[in-house]
């Protein structure tokens, strides 16, 4: 639900919305070009299709102060230009060969991708390399795009029942870190963007040594190597950009509550956020235990908290628990629920608190933990069945600093999670004196 990613054309929800549990072993090959561009290849010969993704290690959290949404504006401008420029050609040429393409800006990264019939790989590699090498942003294309972005904002945020709510929640949950900014930007700041702002941002951040090129599908490593050398290795590297690396302050224990209302909903929503370590913070064990944990708490029907609130007590119609950990931004865990008709937010909250307290006191049992691990691992069959799913999972991990080796060892790391670790991590997150509760009421 908490989608902080702005997609370029449609609401293609296949990518990037948030971390999910489908990481897997894909046997990727990797090499680095002389200009510092890391290349990753995942061969999958199920269908004559190939995808190219370029992940730039820059996102909303790197937007200049007072220019929230600039990374996203630039993402749009990467498709704009004269018909002689790669940026101006990308849309039409990929469309002509029947390709699918899109781009997305998240707090942590910006990604561009195309999916095409395999014999068109060279075309998309030459175009993508072209706009990595050079982008001349021209006023005539850049200006109307500001209006497009404002319309995108209206659609995603203002016209969406929960859009304004989630935006407000994040702006209040994070105290200092720029993860508090909406990926699309605040409206009054979007209106101040200039062509020069976007050009400067591009010049600073878009360089081969700040990106990852990922090619997946019906292709061999050798083919990719040859094309990558031809089109990408010739791009000169710029100075490696340095992210500010802003940290959230350690706050005194704080329980916060935010209430809003919307005319666009009929029944209220209950949301609670907890601070949680991301994969770089604290113990790595927590990171993997959290994956097992979120799987075993909210799994429909059988998950511990789901079962209690939705099935047994029937106080809520659904409950979702999700952990955001593959991030440069601070990690967090969120619980979202909606009361069943005839029940109140207070009942949901009380029952949730009670269930959490019960787990803190008595722990989760070993069979729950083991079943959850088995389920997580079983999904590998399905992710491998899809020609492209591996590329998305691996890209999301690498772009925030994960290594391929660790990514590939995911099944072993999940297998190694113990009941004790899961219970310790549960306590770490839920026994904390700090949490953030937000309620969205229907506006009568």
């Amino acid at each position: 639900m908490l989608k902080r990613v702005c997609l370029h054309f449609y609401m293609l929800i296949i990518v990037l919305a948030y971390w999910n549990v489908e990481a897997a072993v894909y046997n990727p090959h990797t090499f680095t070009l002389k200009n510092g561009l890391q290349v990753v290849v995942i061969e999958n010969h199920r269908a004559p299709v190939v995808t190219q993704m370029v992940w730039y290690k820059v996102g909303t959290i790197d937007d200049p102060h007072g220019k929230s949404g600039l990374a996203h504006y630039l993402e749009h401008l990467m498709f704009k230009g004269s018909l002689a420029s790669p940026a101006g050609r990308m849309l039409t040429e990929v469309n002509r060969v029947g390709g699918e393409q899109n781009a997305a800006t998240s707090p942590d990264f910006t990604v561009y991708y195309q999916v095409v019939p395999k014999n068109k790989l060279e075309l998309i590699m030459s175009l993508e390399a072209g706009r990595m090498a050079q982008l001349e942003i021209e006023e005539q294309y850049a200006k109307p795009e500001l209006d497009v972005i404002l319309e995108e904002r209206h659609m995603r945020v203002d016209n969406s029942p929960t859009g304004v709510f989630f935006e407000t929640v994040l702006a209040n949950f994070f105290k200092h870190h720029p993860a508090r900014l909406p990926a699309i930007g605040w409206e009054h700041e979007i209106k101040t963007f200039t062509t020069q702002d976007a050009q400067k941002f591009y010049n600073t951040w878009y360089t081969p040594n700040n990106a990852i090129l990922l090619i997946a599908g019906d292709v061999t490593v050798e083919e990719v190597k040859a094309l990558a050398k031809k089109y990408y290795e010739v791009i000169p590297a710029k100075a490696k950009p340095r992210p500010l690396n802003i940290q959230e302050p350690k706050m005194k224990p704080l329980r916060q509550r935010l209430e809003m209302s919307s005319p666009l909903i009929q029944e209220p929503y209950f949301l609670r956020l907890f601070n949680a370590p991301n994969f770089k913070e604290g113990s790595r064990k927590d990171f993997y235990a959290l994956q097992v944990l979120s799987e075993l708490l909210d799994k429909p029907v059988t998950g511990r908290i789901y079962r209690e609130l939705v099935e047994n007590q029937r106080i809520a119609t659904f409950i979702q628990i999700s952990y955001q950990g593959y991030t440069r931004s601070p990690g967090y865990l969120l619980i979202l629920a909606q009361p069943a008709q005839g029940h109140t937010i207070e009942e949901v909250e009380t029952a949730l608190n009670k269930e959490i307290e019960k787990i803190i006191q008595h722990g989760l049992n070993v069979s729950e933990v083991e079943k959850s691990k088995t389920r997580l691992l079983a999904h590998l069959d399905y992710t491998r069945d899809h020609v492209l799913s591996g590329s998305n999972e691996i890209g999301k991990a690498l772009v925030v600093g994960e290594t391929i080796e660790e990514f590939e060892s995911w099944p072993d790391r999940i297998k190694a999670v113990t009941q004790e670790q899961v219970n310790a991590t549960f306590k770490l997150i839920f026994d904390s004196k700090s949490n953030f509760t937000a309620i969205l009421w229907p506006q009568k």
């Binding site: 469309n95 029947g98 995108e152 666009l264 799994k299 059988t302 008709q341 069959d381």
Partner: protein
């Protein structure tokens, strides 16, 4: 609501067999039910999609939402499995069973792996033949359904699409419904109604698509096993025919939003119509996808919208060319005027040679992208059967497309596009104005 659009997905693209050797076999069960199968032993996965020809349009007027509730209740316990045990069993074997409803179809899907296939298909069988429909689970499902319906009814896009349907089909026609029913009618549905509903899921309207690690012989055995207990035939109420309005109509529903959304539609042709691929080409140029005249005029040149586009929606009773746009209140009338103008222009002047070539090339290339996973392939195999396409259709499609000329498409466009009959709905707070086409 999304189901109204669910048939749009992949039909506008084509596929070259020269590049992907996708061999479709027809498997016929002992009871005469036909399934299309793509065997693939390089993956452990098996995916099956199937549908019966009964949908929300056949729900009784006072019990709208019946098919939707049945679809949700089928996985809430069956045979000896309670709701909880059923879910647990599926999770243990890492398999998925789900059901969904459109206006015209009751659809099911199963996703499993070869090692768990036997158990998974057994579970599927009991959902269809021995569903529990316990009143305890029913209360839970109805309440959740009501909450989701209540929220959905307030969404600007739902409001717009619902109004458009009423405008096109008339307020009482079954095609004007939400597949989910209404808050009032779902309260009148009982578990007993669900039991009666199941009699409609009969073999004579069943269509099946399968892809993955399973042989034709294995599939036949499974079908024989699952289908033996289903009714042979069922009798369903006839849906009254639809007459698309002959006059343009614009309806505005006031909602205090910074952005107005506009929906617009005209009548289209059925999938089986020999001109179907010409429509696909013309629609590609007009409004489908990320490169089109509408995208160019409304978004790229003027920045009036983030999203604008058209799709073809082919239901058994009527087909529509339907589109939507979102623009700020001061610009929505201008956006809709531009759209109407393009509608006229494509009728009067047709496509350019370049547009025609690009559209054809796009449709051919894009087809390959439909074959990226077993569930995706199974879904496509089902979709073509729902449209009663011959099993050779996918092989012949490239040839059919290549045979189409620009002159033919432009002749088709001249007869097809009817800007003077566009049905338009605006939801938002639009500035006063009219929709003008130059």
């Amino acid at each position: 609501m999304r189901l109204f659009f669910s048939l749009i997905i992949t039909l506008l693209s084509s596929f070259s067999f020269a590049h992907a050797e996708l061999k479709i076999q027809e498997v016929v069960s002992t009871h005469g039910v036909r399934a299309w199968l793509v065997e693939d032993h390089t993956t452990p996965v098996i995916a099956m999609n199937f549908s019966f020809e009964i949908g929300a349009a056949q729900d009784p007027e006072d019990k709208k939402g019946l098919a939707a509730l049945a679809s949700q209740m089928l996985t809430e316990g069956a045979g000896k499995f309670s709701s909880h045990d059923f879910a647990q069993k599926l999770q243990e074997i890492a398999s998925f069973i789900s059901f969904d409803v459109t206006l015209s179809h009751f659809q099911g899907s199963l996703k499993t792996t070869q090692v768990n296939a036997k158990e998974a298909f057994q579970l599927l069988k009991i959902t269809l033949t021995e569903p529990l429909f316990s009143s305890h689970e029913f209360t839970k499902v109805v309440n959740a359904h009501a909450t989701s319906l209540a929220n959905s009814e307030k969404k600007p896009s739902t409001i717009a699409l619902f109004q458009l349907r009423k405008q096109i089909f008339g307020t009482t026609h079954p095609y004007a419904r939400l597949t989910e029913g209404s808050l009032e009618t779902i309260k009148k549905i009982t578990p007993n109604d669900l039991k009666n509903f199941m009699k409609n899921l009969s073999r004579n309207t069943l269509k099946i698509g399968v892809c993955g690690n399973i042989t034709a012989q294995e599939l036949k055995q499974i079908l024989d096993e699952i289908l033996s207990s289903l009714p042979k035939e069922s009798s369903l109420p006839q849906i009254p025919p639809v007459q698309f309005p002959q006059q343009e109509k614009v309806t505005t529903i006031k909602l205090a939003q910074p952005q107005s959304i506009g929906f617009f539609a005209q009548q289209a042709i059925p999938f089986k119509d020999p001109n179907n691929l010409k429509l696909a080409i013309a629609n590609e140029a007009l409004g489908h996808g990320s490169v089109s005249r509408l995208m160019n005029e409304v978004r790229e040149k003027r920045g009036y919208a983030y999203h604008v586009g058209t799709n073809i929606n082919q239901e058994p009773l009527i087909s529509l060319l339907i589109g939507s746009v979102g623009s700020q209140n001061t610009r929505i009338m201008k956006s809709l005027s531009l759209i109407k103008e393009e509608w006229k222009r494509i009728r009067d002047h047709g496509l350019t040679k370049e547009e025609f070539e690009d559209a054809k090339s796009h449709i051919l290339g894009a087809y390959t992208l439909n074959f990226m996973s077993s569930p995706q392939i199974a879904e496509l195999l089902l979709l073509y059967q729902e449209f009663e396409a011959p099993i050779t259709y996918m092989q012949n499609r490239e040839q059919l497309l290549n045979a189409i000329t620009l002159t033919q498409v432009n002749q088709f466009a001249k007869d097809f596009f009817t800007p003077e009959k566009l049905q338009i709905v605006i939801v938002g707070n639009p500035e006063e104005g009219e929709i003008h086409a130059q």
